[in-house]
Subunit: 304 residues, 2 copies
């Protein structure tokens, strides 16, 4: 299967981190622990290897290296982040949520494995994220203090006041046009919190000042926003083949998005602005340019 | 609402820990973080406060105190364990799993809040478990090393090779009579792993030798087994009112249980044996008797 355009761009930009992560994940998934039922393992691996962009792991590894930590050391954290992200996609696609048949050009997890297994595979990925990071970060030489703190931030970003909270707002908002402020709230929680946590927790593994950490934090905030606005735009502008998932779902479900709240042109402006804000935040640390800046630019222009 | 009989017994035996935990949880649930959508919070609180036995938190607090740690210090861990347990019940009850309308005498979460919210409330509880324990154990004075290690054990016990794996075996097993060995495998993962982890992680917070830790480990293993065998027995012997949930579900779903594999009489013998094994394991540490021994005896005799 050909990679969608924006995945090519991301992989080219961040090929080193992308490959590091793919190798690590491939290695992890290569050996099943005897205690894990084989069908559960297949279901988890199916969604983990469905060809995601690996944006969050790449951000985490890149931020770690810029914070002075070899990306190898941050791999267990990057994996945990991708496990949580993948779990959220599996559950989001289920009939009681978005009811989608297609994800990344393949049948969604519950279409391939049934609803019960999809439900448990999502739970299992969430829990594996924590056992993996808490066991393997210390083994990779990260202190217990940094391990606890980084993983706590990750859990908080994904939990009731972060990603999960955003999913509820998104679902609640389906029946009404709550406008622009609401779209910002949903995006900030549903997508933004985990993208920001990827950057912040990566940077935090290193020895980094609070001032510098603030730059990563702001970068992550704006990047997450840009990412969600573009997601809303692509839902109305792209076809199923280009997108690898069902397009025009937001409108069909009456969701409150940046496009429904602001219209397409204005949403495109907002995406460009958010991307520029992200670049500005991180340019303070890298006035000569950096991969993180290129990433923010490429994500605003992504096509899938 | 009157408490079911075995909850009375457990509360009487372990009133101090029960009350400590209820106060802590009540306090936590008393203030909603602004970032958490109110409907999500209600749904999470509804299941957390549905009148559970609090067996796992009690085991954790009791083991911590016996390991030399004030139970106050272990409360964030006990809460995390109960969050995970509650999440598993919410998801287990959903239509794609056991499809149950009643839990602890009240409508199940998805009957009260809808499937989408029940799904996310379960996820949110899993994630809150980790942000809470990783943030609040260190604040209570537990070292980062003990925090990371205890929470890693908890995550592993709940994940793909523990509780989640057991749920899959349980579901897969519904269509066949796989016999006794299979019933032991399911029980050990689905119920046993988290009950054992409650005891082990509590004890681990203190300064405890590997030999002593082994006693807690064995105690937890046998206790978890006894608990599941009695659960299987109660499913066939009790009424809806006595049980607070729908009885005779196992047989209707063709589940492989200790009763279906061994018959009622033999299952009762197995439960008594498992309970005695649990007592024996911990009697090494408390030859004069202990709450943990009384708990194991009362659980084998429980009526709901």
């Amino acid at each position: 299967m050909r990679m969608p355009e924006s995945e090519d761009a991301l992989a080219t930009l961040s090929g080193h981190y992308f490959q590091l992560f793919e190798d690590y994940l491939g290695n992890l998934l290569g050996t099943r622990d005897d205690g894990v039922p084989s069908r559960l393992w297949e279901s988890m691996a199916y969604s983990l290897q469905a060809g995601g962009k690996r944006l969050r792991p790449i951000l985490c590894l890149a931020a770690a290296e810029r914070g002075g930590v070899g990306p190898q050391k941050a791999l267990p954290l990057a994996a945990a982040i991708e496990f949580i992200h993948t779990a959220s996609l599996i559950h989001d696609d289920m009939p009681c949520m978005d009811d989608d048949d297609l994800r990344r050009g393949k049948p969604t997890n519950h279409r391939a494995f049934g609803e019960a297994l999809a439900l448990i595979a999502g739970d299992a990925l969430l829990l594996w994220a924590f056992s993996h990071a808490l066991t393997h970060l210390p083994r990779a030489g990260v202190s217990f203090e940094k391990t606890s703190k980084a993983v706590a931030i990750l859990a908080e970003a994904s939990g009731p006041s972060g990603m999960c909270g955003g999913q509820v707002l998104d679902t609640d908002g389906e029946s009404r046009r709550a406008g622009g402020d609401f779209a910002f709230s949903v995006a900030s929680a549903k997508t933004g919190a985990l993208i920001r946590a990827s950057v912040v927790t990566g940077a935090l593994l290193g020895d980094i000042s609070d001032t510098d950490l603030r730059c990563y934090y702001d970068y992550g905030t704006h990047l997450g926003l840009a990412f969600q606005i573009v997601d809303d735009i692509l839902d109305v502008t792209r076809t199923r083949d280009e997108l690898g998932k069902t397009p025009h779902k937001d409108e069909a479900q009456g969701k409150n998005t940046f496009v429904s709240a602001y219209g397409l042109d204005e949403a495109q402006k907002l995406a460009a602005e958010a991307s520029e804000e992200a670049c500005r935040a991180i340019e303070e640390l890298f006035p000569e340019g950096d991969l993180l800046i290129d990433l923010a630019k490429s994500l605003a222009d992504r096509k899938s």
